[in-house]
């Protein structure tokens, strides 16, 4: 469902991703691990359509369509969702209003009617329960004054409401204490389905104890240097990342 071929990306003329090739099949859970600064967020942002990154070579096919040709909003409407490493505070726009506008624009794209007010409310209630979110957060401005953990939880809550086909989680675990991590991971697990593909980006292996991936890839200096199954994550946890840079790649 997602094919990344030889992707090269620069920002401000600085090369960040240097030839990434990766195939995600429908229903699979892939994890990308890597040291800070290796380009994990860059990959996530490029998939979501951030315009400040320049794709200098390569292509990304999503369900047979050229993803790079699509505006960020159209990607979302086609089922791509990226949970931000640093969720943005949107002053003056309530979470509720924002989510409803997002859901309706996705529905409109699919030729569906706006969601009924009561249906929306019960959908929101259900998903809040799933993530054990504080009721008050839904009426507050998007992420404004949220703690780090609340912001991360809010990202997964949005994921739960919008039900994408491809979910990219960028370091969702950072900023969460162990209890919150478990809740969020359970929420994500509840959303796993044969029709939904996940790309779980993390620096630490601990998230992968809870969200068990089918495949693990290691990103270093803008390249995928290792791929394997979940045992690779444990290996990395033991050895750290530094050995990767010393060992010749390929």
């Amino acid at each position: 469902m997602l094919e990344i071929r030889n992707l090269h990306v620069s920002a401000n003329n600085k090369p960040i991703l240097r030839g990434i090739t990766l195939t995600l099949k429908k229903g699979e859970v892939h994890s990308i691990m890597g040291p800070n600064g290796s380009g994990k967020s860059t990959l996530a942002q490029v998939l979501a359509g951030r315009e400040s990154y320049e794709v200098t070579a390569g292509e990304i096919m999503y369900d047979g369509k050229n993803l790079l040709d699509m505006a960020p909003e159209d990607r979302a409407r086609e089922g791509v969702f990226m949970a931000f490493q640093y969720p943005v505070e949107i002053r003056g726009v309530s979470n509720m209003y924002f989510l409803r506008a997002a859901l309706n624009s996705i529905r409109k794209y699919r030729g569906e009617d706006d969601v009924d007010a009561m249906d929306f409310l019960s959908l929101v209630r259900n998903k809040m329960k799933l993530l054990q979110m504080d009721d008050a957060l839904i009426n507050r401005a998007v992420n404004e004054g949220f703690s780090g953990g609340e912001k991360k939880r809010n990202e997964i809550f949005q994921l739960a409401v919008l039900e994408p086909r491809l979910a990219i989680l960028d370091e969702t675990d950072s900023g969460l204490d162990i209890d919150a991590l478990k809740i969020v991971a359970e929420g994500v697990n509840a959303l796993r389905s044969p029709d939904r593909t996940f790309l779980v980006i993390t620096h630490y292996q601990r998230l992968l104890n809870h969200i068990v991936p089918d495949f693990v890839h290691v990103l270093a200096e803008g390249r995928i240097v290792l791929s394997g199954d979940k045992s690779l994550a444990f290996e990395l946890e033991e050895k750290g990342y530094s050995w990767l840079e010393k060992e010749p790649v390929g």
Binding site: E73, R75, P87, V88, R91, G92, F98, A101, A102, S105
Partner: protein
Amino acid sequence: MIQAVRKEKDQYLANFAEFERQGTGPVPDWLQQLRKASILRVAEYGFPTTRDEDWKYTNLAPLSRTAFGLAGPTRLYDQLSDHWLLGLPGPRLVFVNGFLSSDLSRRDGLPDSVQVQSLSEALTHAPDLVGRHVGKYADPDEHAFTALNTAFMKEGSLVVVPPGTVLETPIHLIYLSTGSEHPFAVHPRNLLLIGANSEVRIVEGYAGQAGVAYFCNPVTELVAGDASNVDHYTIQAEGDKGFHIGTLRTCQERSSSLRLASFDVGGSLVRHNLTVTLDGEGANALLHGLYLGASDQLIDNHTRIEHVKAHCDSRELYKGILTDSSRAVFHGRIVVSKGAQKTDSKQTNNNLLLSNDCLVNTKPQLEIYADDVKCTHGATIGRLEEESLFYLRSRGIDKQAAANLLTYAFASEIVSQVRIGDLRNQLDRFLFAWLGHVPE
């Protein structure tokens, strides 16, 4: 320029001669003298120029160039009869081209003790009351446009709320400018006297017909008595060829609370001179402003908060959204007198620029003569944040809708301050419509 100034002076002197010839019913002596003294002031100094520090960014040449004559009574207000200001429920005085329209005005729903009269009515029924107050707060010697207004003072509104009155319904004073064969000037004069311990909300609205050239030069004097609670809203929704130079002068007594909010949603060249005087211990003033500029509008807000007595608070937040080649000026002055210890004052001005050709000049100015005070100010000028836009778009909201949502959120902080539901809803609706016309 010199010639333009002379021309504009001559024009107003000729108008004044005509104004005196027309006569306007019985005029008390004090008023005749006040008018004469004021026109002399206009003749002597003329209009300010950009060499004047307070008018540095606001060139009045377009105003001086046009020969604005006296307005005559008219019933041609069809195009304004469905203006949203007239959709607000509650008692109201409505003026068309400076003349009271008894068709459009309504005064039911007010207790007998509350006076809401047109100024010409008040000059007939209560000339002494008017004489005791008018010009005491807005000094014609201070500002050219106050002098001009005072010289032509004839019509406007008098609101007198006796002590201890809690008014449930807001009072609306609405000034419409509409079709006329030649460009005209109107000089509404409002006197709002709020007694001790009273609670009242007053809306001053100005609207004009698109395409009609006119100059609206209102002056309002507002006195808030001891421990009164006053909301005052100024809605400037003049037509696209309308000039508006408005003066609002408030004076607060002990422990009074004043909430002012100003909305600039129209006009071609607009200037507000707002002076708030905290003249009683424990008084507080809350000032909000929102200005929306498009095409080649110029909107200039000059505010001055005078802390005269001790233990007073003032908070000021003005926000502007500009697009096309519009311009805005914000100049916020806070003056703390020697005796005004424990003053607590905060001023903020935030501007959002939506185009490359728009421009804002913002300038805070603190003059502090007391030593135990807390005064802060801050100003920002910025664009919509790429990061926020991307966040919204990444959830499926299209680019224009995302930009509108962020812009709306920026403005709604001010709109939400309005404590009259109907007015707040109308402003909200206006804002949505306005955003719909803002190009990407």
